[in-house]
């Protein structure tokens, strides 16, 4: 009972909480995993599984309401079951992926069927000038939607724990090995999702540069980030100069010329 309650509260406060405290990333696996671990008394498992699920769900972004899975509910339940069964990623992974997809379906259902119909009520309240009503409905709908959503992990923990345990025991070792392999490959899907957002032919070489320096030189990610920022600043400066040159009207070139030669001279002085 305590566990069901704890998992439900975590889902309510993180997955629901991030909708109230917008874009704070509270509901990501790397936060939810350790939190569940802490409450169920196994922080190390929560931390490692949370990190593994974060890599898998890295590419799941929630842009404009469109998404592919809801990682928060999936992580909470997968970590809770893994801790109960003293299992690792091999237990968590086969649960997390379907749960993520189911979680998104339910989230969408609540948003369409529970919150959706109130859109016209908001309009009526606005036309009446009923400010207090708008505010009440704004927060009330949040509470209602995420209370309903948190019931899923509550009942899943209450009835699902032993059933899941029994079902997982039936899985042969070779399949569990296959799932662990899948867990290591799945971040590829996430990376592909991110590439879809960022990819541009002109800058695609930087993807390969990032890959190369880690594969061969084993540079930590934070150092790659700093290198990336340095390269980005250099390129932005050059782009800005090119842009300014293009923006200069031809007629004014004579005037600009003297400016340029002046700065040229300054450069010469500097290097001289």
């Amino acid at each position: 009972m305590y566990e069901a309650f704890a998992v439900a509260i975590v889902v309510f406060l993180t997955v629901g909480g991030q909708e109230l405290l917008g874009l704070t990333m509270l509901g990501r696996p790397i936060v939810v995993g350790p939190l569940i671990g802490l409450l169920l008394g196994d922080l190390p498992t929560g931390l490692t599984i949370g990190a593994s699920l974060e890599t898998i769900f890295m590419g799941i972004v929630n842009i404009g309401g469109a998404s592919a899975a809801e990682p928060g509910l999936a992580s909470a339940l997968a970590v809770a079951f893994a801790i109960n069964m003293h299992g690792g990623l091999g237990v968590a992974l086969p649960l997390a992926i379907p749960l993520g997809i189911i979680g998104l379906q339910i989230k969408t259902l609540l948003y369409v069927a529970v919150v959706g119909p109130f859109a016209s009520r908001f309009d009526t309240l606005a036309a009446e000038g009923n400010e207090r009503g708008i505010v009440r409905l704004h927060f009330g709908l949040w509470g209602l939607q995420w209370f309903l959503y948190a019931l899923i992990p509550f009942f899943a923990m209450l009835v699902g724990s032993s059933a899941t345990q029994a079902a997982l025991k039936l899985i042969p070792a070779v399949i569990v090995h296959g799932l662990t392999v899948a867990g290591n490959v799945l971040p590829a899907v996430g990376m592909a999702m991110l590439m879809k957002i960022l990819w541009d032919k002109n800058i695609s070489v930087f993807y390969f540069l990032g890959f190369l320096i880690v594969a061969y030189f084993k540079i930590p990610l934070i150092a790659v980030a700093v290198m990336g920022v340095i390269i980005a600043i250099l390129i932005a400066q050059r782009d800005f100069q090119v842009h300014q040159l293009q923006a200069k009207p031809v007629a004014a070139s004579a005037v600009d010329h003297s400016d340029e030669s002046k700065s040229q001279q300054e450069d010469d002085d500097f290097f001289g």
Binding site: G22, L23, T24, R28, V31, Y111, G178, F206
Partner: protein
């Protein structure tokens, strides 16, 4: 940065703070039809009450801001600031066209969502996640806290100063930035950092190695994985990632099918003993 608010009255500064706090709840009651309309309204209420004393004007403003609103959350205070500055003009000038307020709002939503989503979801979250994951894997319990700090400190700064900038500079500012081409330069620079991080993470997080070796007469004559490593370290993870990317981008395969396919293929390969 205190320069931004130097010319504002104490009342205006207070309302900017209120907008900052209220805009956290932008998507608390998202509806399919109007997305963050109620959150936008909630954030605008202090301004509406301040500028409009007449009940009819107030109602008109409330109706105006219950319109469809959807953008990147970190960018929303900027748009609210711009909107507030236009509401101020509307309340002062009788010939101001109130319809232009929603027109400007709508024109800002799209481009700012594009920049915000790629910078915050695509780059900053990825950097924060990448660093936190490597910390968590080495057993550091602070990983989730560091993740939240790396992500949220820049986001909150953008939200805090964005509202002030929007209100003081008004809508002319963003079109000015566009004309100077700064937006494109910034987006490109951020995407470079993002792509490099994604490349780096492909190398450190996607793991796939072949166990199967060529055996002839009881002797291993070819260690497949060693051979692959001699060609290029991580050639398989890189190849798999590029294949997924190609399927997503060119073939429009849905993400759920990709996940399911990966699972099935991995189990199949494990069954035949290749991995």
């Amino acid at each position: 940065m205190s320069k931004i608010t130097a010319k504002l009255s104490a009342e205006e500064k207070k309302m900017l703070r209120q907008t900052y706090w209220r805009s956290f709840t932008l998507y608390s009651a998202v509806t399919p039809a109007k997305q963050g309309a109620s959150g936008f309204e909630y954030s605008m209420i202090p301004w509406i009450n301040h500028f409009y004393k007449n009940a009819a004007d107030k109602k008109a403003a409330l109706v105006r801001h219950m319109a469809y609103f959807n953008t990147n959350l970190a960018m929303s205070p900027f748009i609210m600031g711009v909107t507030a500055s236009m509401e101020k003009q509307n309340s002062e000038k009788s010939d101001f066209n109130a319809e232009s307020i929603n027109a400007i709002k709508t024109s800002l939503m799209g481009p700012l969502a594009g920049i915000g989503d790629s910078i915050f979801w695509g780059v900053l979250r990825v950097i924060a996640g990448g660093i936190a994951i490597s910390l968590a894997q080495s057993g550091n319990f602070l990983a989730p806290i560091i993740f939240l700090l790396i992500f949220n400190i820049p986001v909150q700064l953008v939200r805090w100063y964005g509202g002030q900038l929007g209100y003081t500079l008004g809508s002319s500012y963003i079109s000015d930035l566009y004309e100077k081409g700064l937006i494109n330069i910034m987006t490109k620079a951020a995407s470079i950092v993002g792509l490099m991080m994604v490349g780096a993470m492909t190398s450190s997080m996607v793991k796939f190695s072949v166990k199967w070796n060529m055996v002839m007469g009881g002797k291993t004559i070819l260690k497949t994985q060693d051979m692959l490593n001699q060609i290029f370290i991580g050639i398989l993870p890189l190849g798999i990632t590029l294949l997924c990317f190609w399927l997503l981008r060119k073939k429009n395969v849905s993400i759920n099918w990709l996940i399911l396919g990966t699972l099935l293929i991995a189990i199949l390969l494990a069954l035949v003993g290749i991995v």
